[in-house]
């Protein structure tokens, strides 16, 4: 039995202010960590490649801390984590695609983001000319009277592209296999050598619906790495923006899920509320999605007293109108008939994959970075994290409903307690190489940003991990045994990001 490395688990109040201390481990220790992950004592937050090394971030719920372990790749290989802990598999395939580093012992060696169309292989490692597109080998399915239904990458609705390969027996889905990577933009490569402001621009365009959360997570990582003192008021304004973003997305999702169950009235009413949130954001912060409003060092612009009144009016209106919509949802039997019991995620799977957001919380995973890995201003606010046991579409709707109520409460609390003062401080390169970690609760779940600077303040490596990484695989499991016609409903209730995942 290999001795475990003494991992430096850092608590949030530490890593949110200072450079992140990573632990270098041996190959044997790395494998021992993979075993521990497989056992479920700690949660995998992410796994990513660097120049000649692999890193993984772990969360220990008992110690309420986060650790980053790094192992050097020897002759381009490293011991596979996915072999013991399936949630790491796709992340390892990306390391292989981008860096050409091979996870030794991994079961699945197929390419993931690389579809053979880039004209290059291993763009972040030892790049070489690509050999062109080849067929993707979907996992074989064997059995009586099975048929396959390929869907995508172009879908019927106004949504992002991805491919779903259904194997069905009659109408029932026996197996779903996803193939993603269609919107891979090469953000990791664009980040390399970029200035801080350019990095912030790219981070805010990783997943448009979470532009505030990404901007914040990136800023957090940069500020921690460079030990920047951010003005107090900026934290509170960031919090208000993040809750507005959550409100807008949850309201949109609740309507869209009901619409996918052919109940268009909910969509109409929810989209009115969503539009009001976006208009208030535009009025107060100058952009409907609040893009580029959070910058390293603070926020780009303060708001006025009119802005405060507009936000209070918005919260009042949502509080007035939303309960009737919740009643409508809860009292429409034909709608519940579709959502209750559909697309069930087993709590055990949610725990093992460390699924964040409503996907995890609807299946008993009681985790929220705002509460469990605290950051300002949430350390000063009252927050209840809704958790349910059902794990189905209905459960995910209810978690969103409760979170809408929580966000309203949080916005009111923040408006009441908003401190004065400046909102932006200048960020100067520290003149030495440094690394920082950002972890922010987006509407979809926890977003992780790992940021390393060189001694000139340029970005050496930026790794952005969307919550969808640990939710997409659960969708494959959740749809099993459901009918194909219920897939849009299940998929919408997950609402995973394609862009955030494909990068």
């Amino acid at each position: 039995m290999t001795r475990l490395p003494p991992l430096a688990f850092t608590r949030s109040r530490e890593f949110r202010r200072r450079p992140f201390p990573h632990t270098t481990v041996s190959e044997a220790e790395w494998s021992a960590l993979a075993h521990i992950l497989g056992r479920g004592d700690v949660t995998l937050l992410s796994l990513w490649g660097e120049d000649g090394a692999i890193c993984m971030a772990l969360h220990d719920p008992a110690a309420r801390g986060v650790a980053v372990a790094r192992v050097a790749a020897v002759r381009g290989r490293f011991p596979s984590v996915g072999r013991h802990h399936p949630p790491a598999q796709r992340l390892e395939r990306v390391v292989a695609d981008l860096f050409g580093l091979v996870p030794a012992g991994a079961g699945d060696r197929r390419k993931w983001l690389d579809h053979g169309r880039w004209g290059v292989v291993h763009p972040l490692g030892e790049a070489a000319a690509g050999r062109g597109a080849s067929d993707y080998a979907f996992a074989p399915v064997e059995g009586e009277s099975l048929h396959q239904v390929p869907v995508g990458p172009v879908h019927a609705g106004i949504i992002e592209p991805g491919h779903f390969r259904f194997t069905a027996q009659g109408e029932t889905v026996v197996r779903l296999e996803e193939r993603l990577g269609y919107v891979h933009k090469g953000i990791d490569a664009l980040m390399r050598g970029a200035a801080l402001s350019r990095g912030a621009e790219l981070a805010a365009r990783t997943s448009g619906d979470s532009t505030v959360a990404y901007g914040w997570a990136f800023a957090q990582a940069a500020e921690a790495a460079m030990e920047v003192e951010v003005p107090e008021r900026a934290f509170w304004l960031r919090g208000i923006m993040a809750e507005l973003e959550r409100l807008a997305n949850h309201l949109g999702d609740i309507g869209a899920i009901c619409n996918d169950a052919a109940f268009a009235m909910m969509l109409a009413h929810c989209s009115v509320l969503r539009e009001k949130v976006l208009r208030a954001a535009d009025q107060v912060f100058g952009h409907r999605l609040m893009r580029d409003r959070i910058v390293p060092g603070g926020v780009a612009a303060d708001f006025t007293r009119d802005g405060e009144a507009a936000l209070r009016a918005l919260v009042t209106e949502i509080r007035d109108r939303f309960p009737a919509l919740v009643d409508l949802y809860d009292n429409t039997a034909s709608l519940l008939d579709r959502t209750v019991g559909a697309g069930r995620v087993a709590p055990e799977l949610a725990r093992r994959f460390g699924a964040g957001g409503f996907v995890g919380r609807a299946a008993m995973r009681d985790f929220d970075t705002r509460r469990d890995l605290r950051y300002a201003p949430y350390d000063m606010l009252r927050l209840e994290v809704p958790v349910r046991e059902d794990g189905d579409v209905n459960g995910r709707v209810w978690v969103r409903i409760r979170e809408v109520e929580q966000s309203c409460s949080l916005i009111t609390q923040m408006l009441n307690g908003l401190p004065g003062g400046p909102v932006l401080t200048a960020v100067a390169p520290s003149g030495r190489a440094c690394e920082g970690l950002g972890l922010v609760e987006g509407f979809r779940g926890d977003i992780l940003v790992w940021l390393a600077f060189d001694d000139r303040g340029r970005i050496r490596r930026c790794h952005l991990r969307d919550p969808s990484w640990f939710q997409w695989p659960l969708l494959e499991a959740a749809i099993e045994g459901n009918i194909i016609a219920d897939f849009p409903l299940c998929n919408k209730s997950f609402n995973c990001s394609y862009s955030g995942h494909d990068l």
């Binding site: 579809h115 290059v120 919107v183």
Partner: protein, 178 residues
């Protein structure tokens, strides 16, 4: 539910009651648009949306066109599920190399006359993603573009304005693919 339906009958529609200049402008835009459309295409225009690599920000605003404030369908504009039914291809994002073929095939599947609108700053030339190994370029790098609507993302009013501009151009001279 009865209460909601009753309210819906008795209350003035949000589309008119919406406050602010933005909402009024959307109403005006809509009427001009409807006139142009009838001249060119009878009463309706079918739009197919393809995300060729966007961050999904543009999709959010395109979706917003359907909410009661903008209510796109009252002007005969509607989104369709198949390119076979479409007059206009609305493309978002820088075109990723992984999506280029799917975009080209979608375009090829549309009947003529057809128009292409590139949406968002990325749609022009790849925007902030230009130069990446994974990006083929703006939308025009893969399919012929008739109009570009800038913005990051363009708001719903800008999207409506873009549709009007396309129709004015289409009335002046036939589109390149017509």
């Amino acid at each position: 539910m009865r209460r909601f339906l009753l309210e819906g009958l008795l209350r003035r529609p949000l589309t008119e009651a919406a406050p602010g200049a933005g909402a009024d402008a959307a109403g005006e835009l809509g009427e001009t648009l409807a006139r142009d459309l009838r001249a060119r295409l009878g009463r309706s225009l079918a739009i197919r949306v393809v995300d060729a690599g966007s961050c999904n920000g543009c999709e959010l605003e395109i979706n917003a066109l359907g909410n009661p404030f903008y209510d796109l369908e009252r002007f005969g504009l509607h989104f369709v599920a198949s390119p076979r039914h479409a007059d206009v291809l609305l493309v978002t994002g820088p075109v990723t190399r992984n999506m280029a073929e799917a975009l080209r095939r979608t375009y090829d599947a549309m009947p003529a006359p057809k128009w292409v609108i590139a949406v968002g700053d990325c749609g022009r030339d790849g925007g902030c993603f230009a130069g990446s190994y994974a990006i083929a370029g703006g939308v025009a790098a893969v399919v012929p573009v008739d109009l570009h609507i800038p913005g990051c993302p363009p708001d719903p009013t800008a999207l409506l304005q873009g549709l009007i501009a396309l129709l004015s151009a289409a009335n002046g001279h036939p589109g390149p693919s017509a």
